[in-house]
Amino acid sequence: MDFNFGELNEPFSRAFFEEYEDFSVNTEFKRPTWDFVNEDYKKKVSNSTNFLLVEGNNAHSIMENSLLKGANLIAQMKKHNIKVYHNDQFFIGIIEDNKTDNFAASIAKLLSPWFESAKMCIILSLQSTAEYKNDNAFQNCVIRSVGNNGQNIPTLEVPNFLTGCAAGICTLRKFNELQCSCFIAYIDLHDVISLNSIMSLLKTFNISVTGNITLPTNIHKNQFYL
């Protein structure tokens, strides 16, 4: 592979296949299940509700004192770090773990009760800037949209794409011919300026983002090594 010096190039879009030759026909796929679901949510799901998913590293810690302030936890999957909240306006899915790829489609299906009938579905995927492929100069925070969202946000350039449950939900919405506002934020430094641009994006959908943004403490300082 053509590596540039100092570049972290994770093979996320290359063949990371499993060994199909030797796998047993009887291999069991352990489908993910919710550890906890508040059944009351069913009374609240209607065509007038909205759904927001934030997926990516530190998604929960970034949002907990702003977006999630006052929201109630209604479902949880500890193994994959997934939580679903409900507030006055939205069902909010938060996925911390980016390494759920093998289960992404299954988890997206499990989230479908909340997003399938949602009037508005907003997907926000947080990724590292090291994963952003483009010709332009390096930026700390790049926000791009996928598909035509009617928002004044530049569209994502090929060959970049979304992965994980975010991609699963967008695919299912597309499948059902439902609109989905899909965004990807490449952020490196979890600083106030970068996080503010994400909050500004959420505010364009009239999502009330109150309180303070929490800067995660467990992040790597940069993406380069010497």
Binding site: N9, E21, T27, A105, P159
Partner: protein, 236 residues
């Protein structure tokens, strides 16, 4: 698997070409070349729990409304060819379900034959002077010879071919003519491999026009920046 058809086309008698996830993604890249060169139209979207989802801008057009998902079908009515492009691996434990559903579609649409593209690890080819292109077909294929491809034994293991042999095996069980075309390659920048493989497969299929011994292969615009952004000179 759920298939959402975007067009109404009678696929009876069409050939189905599909890649398997393999060494260097050569089969998927070659499939992209067929779709772009033949200006194929999107025929259907597919959803299967076993296919790892991705979602991004269109790989073939600049249309903002168009998106790319993990598994899509394209059709070329002129050449009676339908392509199932799968851009991500299939979860091994869910593979059999996926394959069964692919062949349910093949049978229900009365597709005449299945062409599987894949690749194998070059270090497994022990006769280095031999052509790197080989094929494996079942008895049901009317055509018995494929120019430019050497025949491989039926019980031959194709290391690095992904799930190609599982597809082939299922086709044989269902009495569907099937052939696997593969090339021995190494991981790396596999664009040249994909171009050569596409040209070789086209010698058999004869779908992409060839003028004065030059094949008119078109590269999709999405192949830009395959290996990440250019390195920034400021860091030195």
């Amino acid at each position: 698997m759920t298939i959402k058809k975007l067009k109404n086309v009678n696929l009876s008698g069409f050939k189905l070409l599909l890649p398997s996830v393999c060494v260097g993604n050569v089969a998927q890249l070659s499939t992209d070349l067929f779709i772009e060169s033949l200006k194929m139209e999107k025929y259907a979207l597919l959803w299967n729990e076993g296919v790892i989802p991705i979602y991004g801008p269109s790989a073939f057009t600049f249309d903002k409304d168009e998106v790319t998902t993990a598994s899509e079908m394209f059709v070329c009515e002129k050449n009676k060819l339908v392509i199932l492009q799968t851009r991500t691996p299939v979860v091994a434990a869910l593979l059999l379900g996926y394959i069964n559903e692919v062949f349910e579609f093949v049978q229900s649409e009365n597709i005449s034959e299945v062409i599987i593209l894949t690749s194998a690890y070059s270090y497994e080819q022990h006769f280095v002077e031999k052509s790197p292109y080989e094929y494996l077909s079942n008895e049901l294929m009317k055509r018995k010879e494929f120019p430019g491809f050497n025949e491989s034994p039926a019980d031959f293991r194709i290391p690095g071919c992904g799930y190609a042999k599982h597809l082939h095996q299922r086709a044989t069980e269902l009495n569907i003519p099937s052939v696997i075309f593969y090339k021995y390659v190494s991981e790396g920048d596999n664009v040249p491999d994909a171009l050569q493989f596409c040209e070789k497969v086209n010698e058999v299929l004869k779908v992409i026009p060839v003028t004065e011994n030059k094949i008119d292969i078109k590269i999709p615009h999405s192949w830009k920046n395959f290996f990440g952004s250019r390195v920034k000179t400021e860091i030195y």
